[in-house]
Amino acid sequence: MSRRLTFDIFRYNPNDPKSRPRTERFTLDETEGMTLFIALNQIRDEQAPSLAFDFVCRAGVCGSCGMLINGRPGLACRTLTAALPDTITLMPLPAFELIADLSVNTGKWMRGMSERLETWVHLEQAPEIDALELAMEPEQAEAIYELDRCIECGCCISACATARMHPEFAGAVGLNKIARFRADPRDRRADPDYYQLVGDDQGVFGCMGLLGCHDLCPKKLPLQTQIAHLRRGMLKSALGKS
């Protein structure tokens, strides 16, 4: 027998002067293999045409659909309703600017972070595209890819007490990016440069190490070890013996 699911969904559109924050309740019949992507679309198509949320890839790779699912940040598109109780509460990710209902402006936050932390390979010179590429150890390439897999979904930010208090805090996503470029031999920056970017309370020293981020990252990035490594590197740098 299929279940009847109850959804309690946060509704509020800050752009609409008449709108007030509230929770609305919807019910629908669960179908086999139903994901929150399917369920939310069904609710919008049939019951609440103005319901706002963000999906793009619907395959767990683009990072658009982070939300609080029964209080836990996660990717809605790859969450099966079968894994959830009969009543499902959906809230927008905290720490980001609310656009409406379940839609938050992660894009703006991520761009700001990228600009502050300069999350790009700093090259010695313009790439020489007509010559053979520089060799790289296969394991090194894999190690960079391991950290490159972050999808900027923002789940780690929502799980982070520091990020919620300090809007400029790099967060696990930012610290992981620094770790990624630090591991990349093509980037000419060295620890003193990174220290300038994350060697303070907005960076690695603002992190309280409670690791909500690590447990919740949908890509299972090794945030715990990366933050620890980075902290050690930055401490050394502060002590002037990088």
């Binding site: 559109n13 752009n15 609409d16 086999e32 293999g33 679309n41 919008r44 198509d45 049939e46 045409p49 103005s50 319901l51 706002a52 963000d54 999906f55 793009v56 890839c57 619907r58 395959a59 767990g60 790779v61 683009c62 990072g63 658009s64 099966l80 409406a100 209902d101 839609s103 402006n105 894009g107 703006k108 991520m110 761009r111 300069e118 999350t119 790009w120 390979v121 090259l123 790439p127 020489e128 595209i129 007509d130 010559a131 590429e133 060799a135 790289m136 150890e137 296969p138 390439a141 894999e142 960079i144 890819y145 490159d148 897999r149 999808i151 900027e152 470029f181 990349d184 093509r186 980037d187």
Partner: protein
């Protein structure tokens, strides 16, 4: 009226758009990028398997060069591509890979010495040369004579888009996210920019530019089941079509990928077969060698998809509540390989099917995947009919893929075309034609028209037809009647069905595709069905969005069909001729 000026307006923040932006910026031009979603969430991010470029570093790639790549591309296109474009492309692809490597893409590398691989179902040992150690490696893909597809595990598109986007951030290129181009501003001969809607506030804006570049991706979502992101609705193609001046081409050339999972339609990469995966039927029989003794599972995509459909029709499919499917078996590759090189595939199987591909077979069937057709341009990416309008990436048809795109050639095309076309755009801007000369009156007219469309829809309110139902019906028609195999009869039914849909109709002439008149200017235009923030005014705005979308999509599908209708003898309906 709020107007924003720039030299080059780029509509689309995927790989094609971002690389073009970087190119024109390097030529000293002002540029900005519009995107429905944050740029890094564009559909390019989902590309898994890899990017073709004839580096020839790994053992199985040795002897490769741009000529071989060119021949594969032309043959793979069913001889339908523009060979000049294919030439330009295969020449540039290795350069593009190297540029991306410098920008940070962690391409997988050749490891010298004995390496295990699965070829044709057999475990073999390859002896990689010491001299190639650490250079960019490649995997096998369908329809290629060499191992040519460069990759980062199965997250190639992700790594590429992040590197290119980060490069654009480094060069301070603004991206106006959550903004949608609603129509192109033009005077019949020259494009001047676009009317744009802010998807947060609902406000309409004017963007004026010397050159406008469309990089809005494909139109997969006119089908009910597609591997594409849900924002890939052919918006860019429709914008161009609606000018009544720019033209589209090859819309019937729609690619069906052999291996999307059932029922979700999410892709698992061709790399699965490239790395040694097999296709099996209800009896566990490996059937591809029966049909294609030489290339087997790695024949080009259109061939494999058609053979699969044929095999299922002959009663060999696995029955399921969602229709028949076949199996993709990658168990022979082993846990270590899958966890390293096919980790997205593993995740997708885990989250969407609840299976472990290391031990279990994956249910797959051919599913809409790629749009070969699009905005017709010359080899420089410019519309021959509407000056100042350029297009590149999946939205465009400079005709590199003909009737079938080879796997791995698309992300390569996006970056290569960005590299090349940005130069042509910059040349255009440097010339006399490239000057901005536009009456603000014209821009105002376009803005007003767009506003009127929205108002009309809004005042009709959420009563009347249910846009979602119309959309579903459209998708059903496309999926059911305009699929992999097409017949004249079913196409006719499809045209009738689409025309009967209760939405503002566009009448198009039957005879000549090339001369499509402007669909009534005073009727509303498209809208993507991006679950959008409802905007300031009114609860019915999403309804407007849905209605616009339906109208647009129906227009696109009708267009597609018209073209297919006159192309029934094309390779898409007849079994493959080799």
């Amino acid at each position: 009226m709020k107007a924003i000026y720039t030299d080059v307006l780029i509509i689309g923040g995927g790989l094609a758009g971002m690389r073009t932006a970087i190119g024109v910026r390097r030529r000293g031009l002002e540029t900005l990028v519009l995107s429905l979603v944050p740029a890094k969430r564009s559909h390019s991010v989902a590309a898994q398997g890899g990017m073709q470029a004839s580096l020839g570093n790994c053992l199985r790639g040795s002897g490769d060069d741009e000529d071989v790549h060119f021949q594969d591309t032309v043959r793979g296109s069913d001889w339908g591509c523009d060979q000049r474009v294919a030439r330009m492309f295969t020449h540039m692809a290795p350069k593009a890979v190297r540029e991306l490597a410098a920008w940070g893409v962690p391409w997988n590398r050749v490891a010298a010495g004995e390496q295990e691989a699965i070829i044709n179902g057999q475990r073999v040992v390859l002896q990689e040369h010491a001299s190639a150690h650490g250079l960019i490696t490649a995997r096998d893909f369908g329809g290629t004579r060499k191992w040519r597809t460069c990759y980062t595990s199965d997250g190639t598109g992700h790594s590429m888009l992040y590197s290119v986007s980060d490069r654009a951030i480094a060069e301070s290129i603004p991206v106006h996210e959550r903004r949608e181009a609603m129509s192109l501003i033009h005077d019949g001969a020259r494009c001047h920019g676009a009317v744009v809607r802010d998807l947060i506030t609902g406000e309409l804006l004017i963007y004026l530019a010397r050159a406008t570049v469309m990089a809005t991706g494909g139109y997969g979502r006119i089908y009910g089941i597609s591997t594409n992101a849900i924002i890939n609705e052919g918006i860019g193609q429709a914008l161009a079509l609606e000018t009544g001046v720019a033209r589209l081409a090859n819309l019937e050339a729609v690619q069906f990928h052999p291996t999307a999972i059932v029922p979700a339609g999410i892709l698992v990469t061709e790399g699965c077969r490239g790395d040694g995966g097999l296709l099996r039927d209800r009896d566990g029989h490996r059937f591809m060698p029966d049909y294609e003794p030489e290339k087997k599972e790695l024949a080009s995509r259109d061939v494999v998809s058609r053979r699969m459909a044929e095999h299922m029709r002959a009663g060999n499919g696995v029955e399921s509540p969602y229709g028949d499917h076949l199996w993709l078996d990658i168990t022979a590759l082993g846990a270590a390989h899958i966890e390293k090189k096919l980790r997205e595939v593993k995740d997708i199987c885990h989250y969407f099917l609840g299976i472990d591909p290391v031990r279990e077979w994956i249910p797959v069937r051919p599913t809409q995947h790629y749009s070969m057709g699009g905005i017709r341009t010359d080899h420089q990416g410019q519309s021959p009919w509407l000056g100042g309008l350029f297009a590149c990436g999946e939205v465009a048809c400079w005709d590199m893929h003909g009737f079938n795109r080879l796997g791995g050639n698309s992300v390569a095309e996006t970056v290569v075309s960005g590299m090349l076309i940005s130069e042509y755009v910059a040349d255009f801007c440097a010339g006399r034609e490239g000057e901005l000369n536009l009456s603000s009156e014209l821009a105002g007219d376009f803005l007003e028209r767009e506003q009127r469309h929205l108002d009309t829809l809004q005042s009709s309110g959420p009563r009347g037809e249910n846009a979602m139902e119309i959309r579903r019906e459209m998708e059903r028609i496309m999926t059911g009647k305009v699929g992999l195999f097409r017949t004249g009869e079913r196409l006719q039914e499809a045209v009738k069905g689409l025309e009967a849909l209760p939405c503002p109709r566009v009448s198009l002439p039957r005879e000549r595709f090339w001369d499509i008149p402007v669909p009534k200017i005073d009727s509303p235009t498209r809208q993507p069905l991006l679950p959008r923030p409802s905007c300031a005014h009114h609860d019915s705005v999403p309804h407007i969005a849905a209605k616009l979308l339906v109208r647009n999509s129906v227009m696109m599908t009708t267009m597609t069909l018209r073209r297919v209708g006159c192309a029934i003898c094309m390779p898409y309906v007849t079994p493959y001729r080799s």
